[in-house]
Subunit: 476 residues, 2 copies
């Protein structure tokens, strides 16, 4: 939250939170009328402006609505929410389908901006601070020796690494600039980690469902992927993880600990501690993909497992691709005890990463602009998530289950087990709507009835209309 | 050559070439006085300005010198040149040394601009058009949707791919934009090619000596590297290549066909045709690293092997890192029949490359600025190469051999077989001079008495002084 307006915002948010609490506890029910702005202001001893701000805030979140010449009404309550998806129970059979072909098809429609792209893996451009990034880039040309035309140091831009280390303080990360290696996005960091720590034929553990990029990457390196049961709220099942580590034959564990893609799960702190304890016990590295951690809807940034890493076995990977600027390809890894291996891989395969982009991001991170932007982005995403959940509950078939992400911008939707979302995908394409079918998120024969919807879009009537269309198609 | 001044330059270059020919043929000897500018102008029926341009050009190349109040004198002739290095005859024993450690040490001094960096693998920043690149970058922010903050298409920026295809016409390359995949520099293209076409334990053929980056990359992928005899002028020995392909067990061939690093060899066209014939006969892919091809000193750009590729077995890799801008990390590959594999690898490991850098380079390439810049850069590099060869011949021990690169900016220097250039490297560091010791360019126990000197520097008295210092150290 920007400091200059902190007090004011504090007050209206307090009021909004209090109303939200009443809705959650069912003290205010769907359809109930809220007090008028004047009355509310008198009751709470605040200005009408502050009351209005509180109401606007709840309206943006989709919780209340303004009816012309009548006032504000409760529009939505979690008591009407559809159920949360079940804990996943992954198949053990490989799927006969070529998931790569589905992925390619979905990717092919990603640059078509006429489409409503629920399949998008990044926030929509409108939610990102383009103009400010341009300024940061022009500044970078001034800052860097030779205007950034020369090779960057192999380990990466030092200002950027310092900023990353500084930001890690928000989760008590005890990192120094020298602990960090920059990469061309987070997936590039994951690629280096897998290449450094595994060989063809090795087995790695992941969540299920899991981001298809991780599956494709592991597959292309000849790795066996063990998909473990994962809860949509609390993440990977610890008992399954424990059993498999005990059994042996596992080369590494790869987890998206905060707001996993596609489930949106966020592991509780105790679970993270237990994961770190387990990998230490069995001396197995943990590659932690934490690229959604900054997009929390709660009071503070959830810690990654790295926060509890004493042994250097956790390789913490992240980027600004999901929070600030996908196209710059700026990511990083804090590889713990594996720094030398990662550094050599980076040198061997790319010499260095783009010099200007790194400096531009460092500039953006340096003076509070990033926090300011994140604050706004999180507000928008949280409001969107509620609009999406409400729309699914209104327009989708009875019995549809939907996740409750507490951060990030991915919604996991579970339709009737008889449904085929790849068919739905093809039908939706004809209506210029793209979704990500569930089977993209596994190498096994499952999740055919699921899909991932990105709510990282600007919420508009057209978006709501597209969700309605999807629901109608799903009902057929 | 810029069109506007083409005629004028044509005339003075003709005159300069004619004088150079006289020097080459020993009709003009070192120390001979040239005709006065006035006399020369009358003899050739040109303006004094044109004659002066011709003399300046030869002076810049280090062939003649102006003596105050006296006139121009021949300073240099190839008849005084030291001998060319011998054809390489690679060892078959692996070296016990950790070449990686030497490479890291050399790299660590690369960002120290107080050093005279003969070890630099790119042209010095002063030789690159920083200001114009900045403009191209600002333009790129205007050109790209969302100012380049969104993901680039997986295959890469289309304008850039069109420009690359257009430039390939200069060597009769029949490429279309769709044949090209952009990468984060040329080494990244090589990495994808090796990952797509080989598995751990496979054997690949390379030149010897060979760029250490290729060795490190192959080594990190678990490949066996077969270093074949290579001639400093004509490149890899065809009989050795033929024998090994016939014997079998080779997974691919990797060649720097034009101005190899470090030898500077450029394969004659017939050799290239024969290489393509051979790989077709044995159905072995050729990864062609052509990142120096645009830096020719002759009349036209030498063709890569790709020009003769009918079967799609040649994967042509290049970049603008050696010619325009290392820090942007813009490279590419035209992978022939292996396009799908490379595209998937790129998607899996990086999603896409930096959007703005690609557009900026596309802008730079679009309107003749690149040709103009290359023309100037080649002039500077050719002049430098002659200055370097002259300096080595003046300051280094009797019997020193030195390559005759006809392009690029790498000089290969062979000292007395008893010399140890790693020792020389360490001594030179104390004088703030860095060189690349010969053993970096092999995985075998050889080239201890060789070194690579980059002449991609701005030629100054300090640089000449550093070469003198090196020579003095070598004499000890």
């Amino acid at each position: 939250m920007p400091k200059s307006t902190a007090l004011n915002e504090h007050r209206y948010l307090q009021l909004a939170d209090s109303i939200e609490g009443h809705i959650e506890k069912n003290l205010l029910k769907v359809g109930d009328k809220l007090p008028s702005v004047r009355l509310f202001s008198e009751e709470h001893g605040v200005s009408m402006g502050t009351s209005l701000q509180a109401y606007y805030h709840l309206e943006a979140k989709g919780l209340i609505e303004s009816r012309p010449k009548s006032g504000y009404y409760v529009r939505y309550s979690s008591h009407k929410y559809p159920e949360v998806p079940r804990m996943s129970d992954p198949e053990t059979k490989e799927s006969p389908e070529d998931v790569g072909a589905i992925v390619s098809s979905v990717f092919n429609h990603l640059n078509d901006s006429d489409f409503i792209r629920f399949s998008l893996g990044v926030p929509a451009p409108e939610l990102l601070p383009q103009a400010k990034l341009n300024k940061a880039m022009v500044q970078a040309m001034r800052d860097l020796p030779a205007s950034g035309t020369s090779y960057d140091p192999i380990q990466g831009n030092e200002s950027l690494r310092r900023q990353i280390a500084k930001n890690a303080l928000s989760w008590q990360g005890n990192l120094h600039a020298d602990d960090i290696i920059t990469t061309a996005g987070c997936i590039n960091a994951l690629a280096y980690c897998l290449m450094a720590l595994t060989e063809k034929g090795d087995t790695i553990i992941v969540e299920s469902p899991v981001y298809f990029g991780i599956l494709q990457l592991a597959h292309s390196l000849g790795l066996q992927v063990l998909e473990l049961p994962t809860h949509p709220v609390t993440g990977i099942a610890l008992d399954a993880l424990r059993n498999h580590l005990q059994k042996g034959g596992i080369k590494l564990v790869l987890l998206v600990s905060n707001f996993s893609n596609p489930l949106g799960s966020c592991m509780p702190e105790e679970n993270k501690k237990e994961v770190v304890r387990l990998i230490e016990q069995y001396n197995i590295p943990l590659v932690e993909d934490d690229l959604y951690g900054d997009l929390y809807f709660g009071k503070s940034r959830p810690k990654p497992c790295k926060a509890f890493d004493q042994s250097g076995l956790v390789l913490w990977c992240s980027s600004v691709s999901k929070t600030l600027v996908p196209g710059y390809r700026v990511g990083w890894v804090a590889p713990g005890r594996f720094k030398e291996q990662i550094l050599r891989l980076k040198m061997n395969q790319s010499i260095s990463t783009n010099a200007l982009s790194q400096q531009a991001v460092a500039n953006f991170l340096a003076n509070g602009r990033y926090e300011n932007h994140l604050w706004k982005l999180r507000q928008a995403l949280q409001a969107n998530s509620l609009q999406f959940i409400r729309s699914v509950s209104e327009y989708f078939p009875e019995g549809t289950r939907v996740s409750r992400p507490q951060g990030g911008f991915m919604l996991w939707v579970e339709l009737d087990p008889g449904m085929d979302t790849y068919e739905l995908y093809k039908q939706a394409l004809k209506q210029q709507i793209s979704i990500a079918p569930g089977r993209m998120f596994t190498l096994r024969a499952q999740y055919q009835h699921c899909m991932r919807l990105s709510y990282g879009l600007l919420w508009t009537d057209r978006v709501e209309g597209a969700l309605k269309t999807l629901g109608t198609l799903a009902k057929k």
